[in-house]
Amino acid sequence: MSPDLVILLTAVLVSTASALLGSFLVLRRMALVSDAISHAVLPGIVLAYWLSGGKATLPALLGAAGSGLLTVSLVEWLTRTGRVKNDAAIGIVFPALFSLGVLWVSLSFRNIHLDLDAVLYGEIAYAPFNTLELWGLTLPESWLVMGGLALLNLLFVLLFYKELKLSTFDPSLAAALGFSPGLLHYALMALVSLTTVGAFQSVGAILIVAFLIIPPATAYLLTRRLPALLGLAVGIGILSSLLGYLLAVWLDTSIAGMMAAVAGGCFALAFLFSPTQGYLTTRLRHRQQRLEVTARLLVAHLAHHKTPVPESEIQEEFGWDARFLQRVKQKALEEGWLETRAEGLVPRNKDLGIR
């Protein structure tokens, strides 16, 4: 099996699994919880390593998922005490857990190879080398882990779509209707933890945040409908993975890092050019709206005059410079509100342009 195929499919599965959950994290304003979970999985992994005495996948998954849930519970407990705000609670809990992990590694595993860098950045390039025998086929482990997680997340979103939608947009109504948003919340958090852990071998603990948050945040700038958001998020995630892979191979650099960077680039593009709320598109729209309003103002002004008005007089009266007047005149001519005569400007029809 070609290594490229293994890496690419792994990346696609990671993108899909994380974009599905990430969409709900972004909508529920819990984007940074993923940051906390992704850092706090370290002590869980160390614990699993310590207990199982090796780099087995299953204990690592369980240990890290456990510490992910511990992080979420601690953050929520701190928030509920009302003594610190949610963001501060996140900022207290995850560095503490991460510190515990680092401390533990440096105390107990000095001589054993538990590479912190690998935990943080992951190395998707190794995906083709970890294989499993299953039904007589040799399959990459990452396909099984991430495929399973992607399927699980997809099922979760499909089965509980209604409940997720309701509890995301109107938690109190969801509670009143008896949908137990708390349970759903913890299920979501458990899946985020599992996905983070499943993906950390491939893309690392920090960069998984990019896969979870950036595609949904980008989609958020492009649409206001939940199904479209989910679809766009998955699409953008997959697209940036593929593009990132190509660029990384071309430049001989970190694949996961490049994927995250490309996703960031996608977000920057959406920020600038989103049809509804892009920075440049809104600027352009405002400019055009201003021009149109000014053109209407000009026509309204002309309608009060019996005779054609010379351009110099308009300039003086409105305090416009010649260039601005030309632009306004151009706009009004395009709209067919204005006629130019030798003596000056005349409105074409006194009713037009003033509605």
């Binding site: 560095p95 991460f98 920057a268």
Partner: protein, 370 residues
Amino acid sequence: MELLSQAVLDYTLRNVVLGSALLGLIGGVLGAFALLRQQSLFGDVLAHAALPGICLAFLLTGSKTPSVLLLGGGLAGWAAALWVLAVLRHTRLPQDAALGVALSGFFGLGVTLLTFIQHGNQGNPAGLDRFIFGQAAGLLGSDVVGFALLGGVTLALVGLFYKEFKLITFDPAYATSLGLPTRELGILLTSLIVLAVMVGLQTVGVVLMAAMLVAPAAAARQWTNRLGRMVWLSGLLGASAGVAGALLSASRENLPTGPLIVLSITAVVFFSLFFAPLRGLFWQGLRTRQNRRRTALERLLLDAHLLANHGRLTPQELALHRGESLPKAWRHLNHLRVQGWVEPGKEGFRLTELGLRKALALEEALRPRS
């Protein structure tokens, strides 16, 4: 004690202790504002965002002088901060998502550049990744002087704009109505966090920087309701945690400084959460328990009063009335006797003078007002 004298005499340890203390001080002071403005995680984002700047600075200059690299990191962090503020201003994206995007996007770029350098495309990269986990032990005297300078600038600016910062923290709308440049002041405050991050990168590293800005402030917040005291206390707690962490890590071999500083300040946070006067969770729990106990006792007295009015205040009747077991009713009557509210009478018990007065007062207080 021996450690303390070493801290003064030993060159390396002195630098580590001083550097950590300065980091704690700066992080604490700025964190107080960040915490109150609910921008606690800006520091985390800026720290992660510094990585591509560090790599770019190395790629462009080929120098590994900390000041050059940190300048690059600071600029990248600053760019990320401005970008987040722009996204928040121009789109509907919630703050946490904007922060998450900046954090992971910039960090991804940083990892890309770091790997690009490591794959031998440019110069010898060893030592660049020490900014990820920090390397307090590698602090030089010149670094500490640099920190002191950055710290001085930070404190001076906070002192200079204290009134303005206070206003935009608590009532930005009012600040705007007074004609203060609220947005610019916010940017200034965020830019100061960049300075703190530059100090923190070398000491505790990218990942743990978040704690240095959040934890001291969160701890200080529990002890006071006044901004001025909170800022000072936050700086003080941060600095003490820095010193404690540095000394702890020097007490044995193989103990990393950054995590120990973070764990020290986390311990301070939890102690403050539980035991700070007024806001402490422990005291609150104690108060709740006392209240609950007093209310239960008062209910008991009212029941006893009711029964006594009909001349039947016996354990049997009380048990029947309250639907509880006989031994429990005995215990309850005993509670009341300890309070001096009931005493043994002809048949069973009766209310004492004190108990009667208390019961009547309670009934009066509970009577619905029309």
